[in-house]
């Protein structure tokens, strides 16, 4: 019974794959419009600019570059995290550029481009105290209770003393008081926290991370040609320095959230 069911499912899948054979890249060019799913409330990746009322952000800049490379108009479709895959599979958008972490589970349902951004687990410490990951094993480090950050840190650096707090602001207070020598969280979250600290010049986020969440563009499943096109486009963007420029616009030294760029397109 189950085997029969499986066979039917396979049949259905291959039928779907057959439909997908029609080339999306040609469709986009023919329509003259690139439809991109982007976040509208996740700064600085994609959010509504209070002044212009338009969706802007790091992901949106990539979308704009891709549309201009294709020579078509850009149409942004606002999305939340849960809608990203349904929008793609229902053919409502051509590509998802919405801080989309590459996971095995998701890769079963969509194609991923090569990563163009990485948000890793990083640290805040008092300036000059934390230089490299090798030091972590001998430090007292504040973590948020119940996060994967705590688990990753304990696995990779069993020598570190972990002190778990209820949330990141508490952990930061402990760091300021000197109860811990560093605190850990995802890099973009830390930089957001640091942006609101009055004496932020005393702290720094050392430019290394101990784990990587790789962010890629989500494309329709089995659109190999379109996927390769996007990969080539991303590599080109890095080579021309435009990727760096986009990064600097949102995380550069002159922004409110300066975060050293550790990851470059093509690293992984």
């Amino acid at each position: 019974m189950i085997r029969k069911f499986r066979f039917l499912a396979l049949l259905a899948l291959s039928a779907l794959a057959g439909v997908a054979q029609a080339d999306r890249l040609d469709d986009i060019r023919k329509a003259g419009v690139l439809r991109v799913a982007a976040f509208d409330s996740n700064p600085p990746f994609g959010f509504v600019d209070p002044k212009s009322k338009q969706i802007v952000g790091l992901d949106v800049d990539y979308a704009r570059e891709l549309a201009s490379k294709l020579g078509v108009k850009l149409q942004l479709v606002p999305t939340n995290p849960a809608n990203r895959i349904p929008l793609l599979s229902a053919n409502k958008v051509d590509i998802v550029l919405a801080n989309f972490t590459i996971t095995e589970e998701r890769a079963k349902q969509v194609n991923f481009s090569i990563p163009y951004f990485a948000s890793g687990q990083q640290f805040i410490a008092k300036k000059g105290t934390l230089k490299s990951a090798d030091q972590l094993g001998s430090l007292r480090i504040g973590v948020d209770k119940g996060t994967t950050n705590e688990i990753v840190l304990r696995e990779k650096y069993p020598g570190a003393t972990l002190v778990a707090y209820d949330d990141t602001p508490f952990a930061f207070t402990a760091l300021r008081n000197g109860n811990v020598q560093a605190i850990t969280q995802d890099g973009p979250k830390l930089i957001g926290l640091l942006a609101n600290v009055p004496d932020k010049e005393n702290y720094e986020i050392p430019p290394f991370s101990i784990s990587d969440d790789l962010i890629g563009a989500g494309l329709p499943k089995d659109e190999t040609r379109f996927t390769e096109y996007v990969n080539a486009f991303l590599r080109e963007l890095e080579a021309s320095g435009k990727a760096q420029k986009i990064y600097d616009a949102w995380f550069g030294p002159s922004t409110k959230t300066p975060l050293t760029r550790i990851f470059r397109i093509g690293d992984k």
């Binding site: 007292r140 003393t161 000197g178």
Partner: protein, 242 residues
């Protein structure tokens, strides 16, 4: 069935947490008993220079939540301390006394112990005061009439009886200390509740993690209860001086 059990490593975490719970509540209870007795004596002192500060202490510590007090000792006080002192408190120290080494605990222990001690002392002081009130005033007067000095009246007549009257509620305060020690997880002290939460995070075995913690708490409180009954059975009559 077997995969529903917690791996030995995680049981170990819970046991470690349990030791910390026992240590911090036992130490805090002992210190709070001494401090509570002194507070009670100050509160009952004839001079207002002692009675009023004691009253202020009692209302301050009895009328604010323990969690807020712990935050004060851990986060608040630390912010006021000079940098050097705090660094010293946070780094591990070893002293070698005649036969054994003494290890200075991390600041979480110090702050947790301090908060729990001062809070519990305020309650214990009031239990003692109730005990003193329970000794008929005629006894103190009679003792004075027999020629005992004021301190002897306290030492030999009032305090022994007051202690016996105050014993059941005192044990209740020790049980509270055990349960209240769970609040120190908020300041990062790795006691039993903290450990159970950590185990839950890593294993997703919610029922097992919190279930074992609950049993350990119940067990500890039950042991205090039994100890109290045993002591009372050995010294039955209320106020009877042997």
């Amino acid at each position: 069935m077997l995969d529903q059990l917690l791996a030995p490593k995680y049981v170990g975490w819970l046991i470690d947490g349990f030791y910390v719970t026992l240590a911090v509540s036992a130490l805090a209870s002992a210190a709070a008993t001494v401090l509570g007795l002194l507070l009670c004596l100050a509160r009952l002192a004839p001079t207002r220079w002692l009675a009023w500060p004691a009253l202020a202490w009692l209302s301050l510590f009895r009328n604010t939540p323990l969690l807020v007090q712990l935050f004060f000792w851990y986060f608040g006080l630390a912010a006021l301390m000079p940098q050097g002192l705090l660094e010293w408190l946070n780094t591990p120290h070893h002293w070698h006394l005649a036969f054994f080494g003494v290890r200075w605990p991390p600041f979480e222990y110090v702050a947790g112990f301090t908060g729990l001690t001062l809070f519990t002392a305020a309650f214990i002081a009031e239990e003692f005061r109730a005990g003193v009130r329970g000794v008929p005033p005629g006894q103190a007067v009679a003792a004075r009439a027999l020629g005992l000095r004021p301190w002897q009246v306290w030492r030999y007549v009032v305090i022994p009886q007051a202690f016996r009257i105050a014993l059941p509620p005192l044990l209740g305060q020790y049980m509270n200390a055990v349960k209240n020690s769970s609040l120190t997880m908020a300041i990062g002290l790795a006691e039993l509740s903290y450990a159970s939460r950590q185990v839950e995070t890593e294993t997703f075995k919610t029922f097992q993690a919190f279930g074992i913690a609950t049993l350990l708490y119940i067990g500890t409180v039950a042991v205090i209860e039994l100890a109290g009954q045993w002591v009372q059975r050995r010294r039955p009559a209320l106020g009877a001086v042997r």
